[in-house]
Amino acid sequence: MTSRIAEWKRISAGGLVSNPGSSERVQTGAWRTRRPVIDFSQCTHCMICWVMCPDTSMQVYKDRLTGVDLAHCKGCGICASECPKHCIQMVPEDRRV
């Protein structure tokens, strides 16, 4: 957008925000210091990590866990702590996977 009016000055009537889920453009993955790495050979796709994720960052396609949304995952480690199969490891971001 090339509007000359600053974004915060273009406030809608009543402060209405009409773009549901637009916070996705904020890449909170930049907060992370360690990333979850899933061992898919052990994963049973029980979805405990998916339901326990505070950042809606476990990616699921047709009943199957497919990966982690690293653009938004804040690296809290709840998934690794709660995984019944212990197949998620938290790896420091400065280490290569």
Binding site: G15, V17, S23, D55, K74, C76, G77
Partner: protein, 310 residues
């Protein structure tokens, strides 16, 4: 309708990523669990608190359901207004009748202290909504101050642990029982780690013919001084030690849910958090014993209520 996580993944997501809640925060987990358990589309009223300021950073919103911002105290009043307006519009033929569930998300500050009178009024007027209290035992958004939900002996920034006092001086109040005393059809206590118990309670609350209230234990790793990955562990320890019993009150009859057992001393739960560090010293052994005795006596009282059914 049975609860299967694989089936729930097919429902549209209700809270997007990119919100500003701390890593390891339990509030967004509770919100997702509540909204995915509902059968009807939700209309949400938010009280001021961590959840609100973090999920609605202008010009963005993390919500994918309609949300109304309220002040600290009036989230229950806002929900009352939404429900009354909906009924009036349907009655006047200006809106088609449809299944909707009105939901309030408010913290313990907004529920126990600032909004208690407003919640009480809405319950008295019998507006049909599901009130979810995200109970992290303090005003975490403004910097970890004590609230009416904070346990005696807890360190917070306004109840420091030192030579003069060992954390909060007063006991917390039992708002779940206060709400149950309004005689509304459904009241429950749940905890974030027990997703199945929580979602079952949400479904019962939604189906209730009147207002319903669920007090959800929601650990705050910043305010409680534990590691972000331990959020669910701390919640589990609170339930296992009896510090946060899981129960429901259906039409005035009290029932335990979950295992219904108390298997640990409260020290196990406290040791996992920095806010109770001072209670682990010899100087405060008496206070720790006093807290344990209170939790034991409250547990016995709850068991009696459940056994007698009233």
């Amino acid at each position: 309708m049975t609860l299967k996580l694989q089936a729930l993944t097919e429902r549209p997501e209700t809270l997007a990523s990119g919100h500003g809640l701390c890593p390891g925060c339990s509030e967004s987990v509770v919100v997702r669990m509540v909204l995915m358990a509902l059968a009807n589309p939700a209309v949400v009223s938010l009280a001021t608190g961590c959840l609100e300021v973090s999920s609605t950073r202008f010009p963005d919103t993390a919500w994918k359901v309609p949300v109304i911002h309220s002040a600290f105290e009036n989230a229950a009043s806002t929900a009352s207004g939404i429900e009354a307006a909906y009924k009036a519009l349907v009655r006047k033929g200006r809106m088609a009748e449809r299944p909707l569930t009105f939901v309030v998300f408010a913290g313990d500050g907004a529920t126990y202290d600032i909004g208690l009178q407003w919640l009480s009024g809405a319950l008295e007027r019998r507006h049909r909504f599901v009130y979810v209290c995200l109970n992290n035992e303090g005003y975490m958004n403004t910097g970890i101050q004590r609230s009416g939900a904070t346990l005696k002996g807890t360190w917070t920034t306004t109840t420091p642990a030192g030579a003069a006092t060992a954390g909060k001086v007063d006991w917390n109040k039992d708002v779940t029982a206060i709400v149950a005393a309004h005689g509304i059809p459904y009241v429950a206590q749940a905890a974030v780690h027990h997703w199945k118990d929580l979602m079952t309670k949400v479904r019962k609350a939604e189906a209730a013919a009147g207002p319903s209230f669920i007090n959800v234990f929601a650990p705050c790793n910043r305010g409680w001084r534990h590691e972000p990955e331990d959020t669910m562990n701390v919640s589990r320890l609170a339930v296992e030690s009896g510090a946060w019993p899981l129960y429901e009150v259906i039409d005035g009859a009290w029932h335990m849910t979950g295992s219904g057992r108390k298997t640990r001393p409260v020290a196990d739960y406290m040791r996992a958090q920095g806010r109770f560090k001072h209670l682990m010293t010899e100087a405060n052994a008496g206070l720790l014993a006093e807290i344990q005795a209170r939790i034991d006596s409250e547990w016995v009282r709850l068991q009696k209520r459940c056994a007698s059914g009233v």
